[in-house]
């Protein structure tokens, strides 16, 4: 008997040659993948060297087995088939034979998937096409939203008032806490940074001007919009994305209820209504934060600070902030709803939609804020 033995822990494999052109693979021990299994390559190498034309298995000595044995046998069988060597499976444990038959019952599907990356030019092209499509989809969505507003004006938009109230509750009163915290701290920081500089010129009192103008014209509305995009825009995207996953949006469409009117419209209305209110609130809390520095650090009296603030800001400053915040409300709501409606139907896709909603809205907020600054400058405000 000539043969090679490979032994790793309990599972053993030996090749026996009862006849010159045939071989028997003798398997013994515990064939459990966790405990380590013999490599088939040695045995396969020996079979090739011996130029056998049929192989059989002898597994009578196998004490226990799991998927490891099945994958081992499958590998040997496919190798034998490739070389045109007949393989007799009769000596395998009954369970292994049945599992192999099951695994072979459905042939492997040629899915034609390759890992080949397309050339860089093609990749740039694909991205450019995708980007232009994204812009087109964004405008289409804006158009649909406008149509939904048209339906609202003509009073045949279909949505539930209770839904609108729930969204208003969520993006109005429930946001007060975070808006208060952020605005107060921003006002405080602005005043502190300003105070350090202005004290050098003995112009500490102008901290009130700095805080009041910055909060009302710029920071109040932009900070509120950023908070709302992270808090509410992302929530819109996640909610609509999950509804899309559960086919809830399909259910609305098949009933002839426009998802734009039923889902997107109330969300936009709520944010457009709440954003200006939150912004005014944020302005006032920010000014309060500035006053804390003015009174505590600079030793100004409350009346002094209040009078200085009143002289510094005009109603038009508040109005500019309010006007911008309405537009920002539209942007946050649109980005959230757009990404939510576009979302794919899986948990990962919903996460992506929420992320993308926040990124989209923040980019547009900053861009629009810049455009506002230019326009207001030209108009002389």
């Amino acid at each position: 008997m000539n043969g090679a033995t490979v032994s790793v822990l309990d599972a053993t494999l030996a090749v026996r040659h009862p006849e010159p052109d045939g071989a028997v693979l003798e398997l013994a021990g515990h064939w459990l993948s966790q405990r380590g299994l013999p490599e088939p390559s040695d045995a396969l190498g020996e079979l090739q060297a011996a130029r056998v034309n049929h192989v059989a298995f002898d597994a009578r000595q196998v004490a226990a087995w799991d998927s490891g044995l099945v994958t081992f046998v499958l590998k040997v069988l496919s190798e034998m088939a490739a070389r045109g060597v007949a393989a007799d499976r009769a000596g395998l444990p009954d369970g292994v034979r049945r599992l192999i038959a099951m695994a072979e019952a459905v042939p492997e599907r040629q899915t034609g998937r390759t890992d080949l990356r397309p050339p860089w030019l093609a990749r740039i092209g694909t991205r450019a096409i995708a980007a232009s499509r994204g812009v087109a989809v964004g405008f289409a969505f804006l158009g649909e939203a406008l149509l939904a507003f048209g339906a609202l004006v003509r009073r045949h938009a279909r949505f539930r008032v209770s839904d609108l109230l729930v969204v208003i509750q969520d993006c109005g009163p429930r946001a007060l806490g975070i808006v208060s915290l952020i605005s107060f701290l921003i006002g405080l920081i602005l005043a502190f940074v300003g105070a350090v500089q202005l004290q050098q010129f003995g112009a500490s009192i102008f901290v009130a001007n700095l805080v009041a103008i910055a909060m009302t014209r710029e920071i109040g509305c932009i900070m509120t919009a950023i908070v709302m995009s992270g808090r509410t825009g992302a929530a819109f995207a996640a909610q609509l994305g999950t509804m899309n996953t559960n086919q809830e949006i399909d259910a609305l469409s098949t009933m002839g209820i426009s998802p734009m009117e039923f889902l997107v419209l109330p969300r936009m209305l709520a944010l457009i209504a709440m954003m200006p209110l939150l912004t005014v609130y944020s302005d006032l809390v920010g000014i309060l934060g500035g006053a804390v520095v003015g009174l505590g650090m600079l030793g100004l009296s409350p009346t002094e600070y209040f009078e200085q603030t009143r002289a510094a800001v005009h109603v038009s400053d508040f109005l500019i902030g309010i006007a911008k915040s309405s537009v920002f409300g539209v942007v946050v709501a649109l980005a959230g709803c757009l990404r939510g409606m576009q979302s794919g139907r899986s948990a990962a896709a919903v996460g992506l939609a929420a992320t993308s909603a926040v990124v989209t809205s923040i980019v547009w907020l900053i861009v629009l804020d810049g455009i506002f600054a230019v326009i207001l400058n030209v108009l002389g405000f």
Binding site: Q34, S67, T71, V106, E108, T111
Partner: protein, 244 residues
């Protein structure tokens, strides 16, 4: 079994023998899936225990529970595959986490498991790219990844066409025959129940307890309880009838 103070089922007492296919049946809302959740360790029962080979599950330490969980495989109703991973990654994750097998061997085992459920060649697909029936089968492949002693199936045939559902039944039978694993199946699909079940327990939504236990065919023909007989005869054979 209860949610808060609402008792879904009480006084359940049955045992599943090694190597048998055990069916938990009952109408909608009778608490079949809740019972499964108790058995697989997702939700502690309000009172009572689940015992594996004489070892209490809910009385065990967290470590012992982990060890017991490793011996179970669960296939969920709609697959419950992780959507951010390919089918191969889904099946491979338990192997990578709980075994020290080399990456190559994990790939081979993953391919084997997918081939067993008829999904050879779908390794690189994401769950969102395959059909509902394939998701379910991939879920079975993932449940089998660690060669568990006991496999649980939650409504394996729900939402499948008759042929796919039949194939899944055959798969369950074949896996039991070849792996010698114990199978616990939650279902109300009669065809399935009669094809695969060795033994079954019937949960009744009205009396909120198990009202029958035994091989389903025997229950259909011999059960003294009319609710069980009616259920197993698909509503036919009720006593009385309409008289004009």
């Amino acid at each position: 079994m209860a949610y808060g103070s609402y008792v879904i089922q009480h006084d359940l007492d049955f045992s599943v023998e090694r190597g048998e296919i055990f069916v938990i049946m009952g109408g909608s809302g009778s608490g079949k899936s809740t019972l499964l959740n108790h058995m697989v360790g997702l939700k502690p029962p309000a009172r009572g225990d689940v015992v594996y080979d004489g070892e209490s599950f809910w009385g065990a330490t967290a470590e012992a529970q982990e060890g017991l969980r490793r011996r179970l495989g669960v296939s969920f109703q709609s697959g419950a595959l992780w959507s951010s991973m390919t089918l191969a990654e889904n099946v491979g994750l338990p192997l990578q986490t709980f075994t020290r097998l080399p990456e190559r061997q994990i790939r081979e085992i993953v391919s084997l498991k997918l081939a067993l459920v008829g999904l050879a060649g779908y390794e690189e697909f994401y769950p969102s790219e395959v059909s509902g029936g394939m998701l379910k089968r991939a879920g079975v492949a993932r449940a089998m990844a660690l060669d568990p002693d006991i496999l649980f199936f939650d409504e394996p045939s729900a939402g499948l066409d008759p042929i796919s559902s039949r194939r899944l039944d055959d798969l369950i039978l074949e896996l039991r025959a070849s792996l010698g694993a114990t199978m616990v199946v939650v279902t109300h699909e009669l065809a399935s129940i009669f094809t695969i079940a060795d033994n079954a327990v019937f949960l009744d939504a009205e009396t909120r307890t198990m009202i029958a236990c035994g091989p389903p065919k025997k229950l259909r023909d011999e059960s003294p309880n009319p609710t069980v007989r009616t259920f197993l005869r698909r509503g036919d054979g009720t006593t009385g009838g309409i008289t004009s």
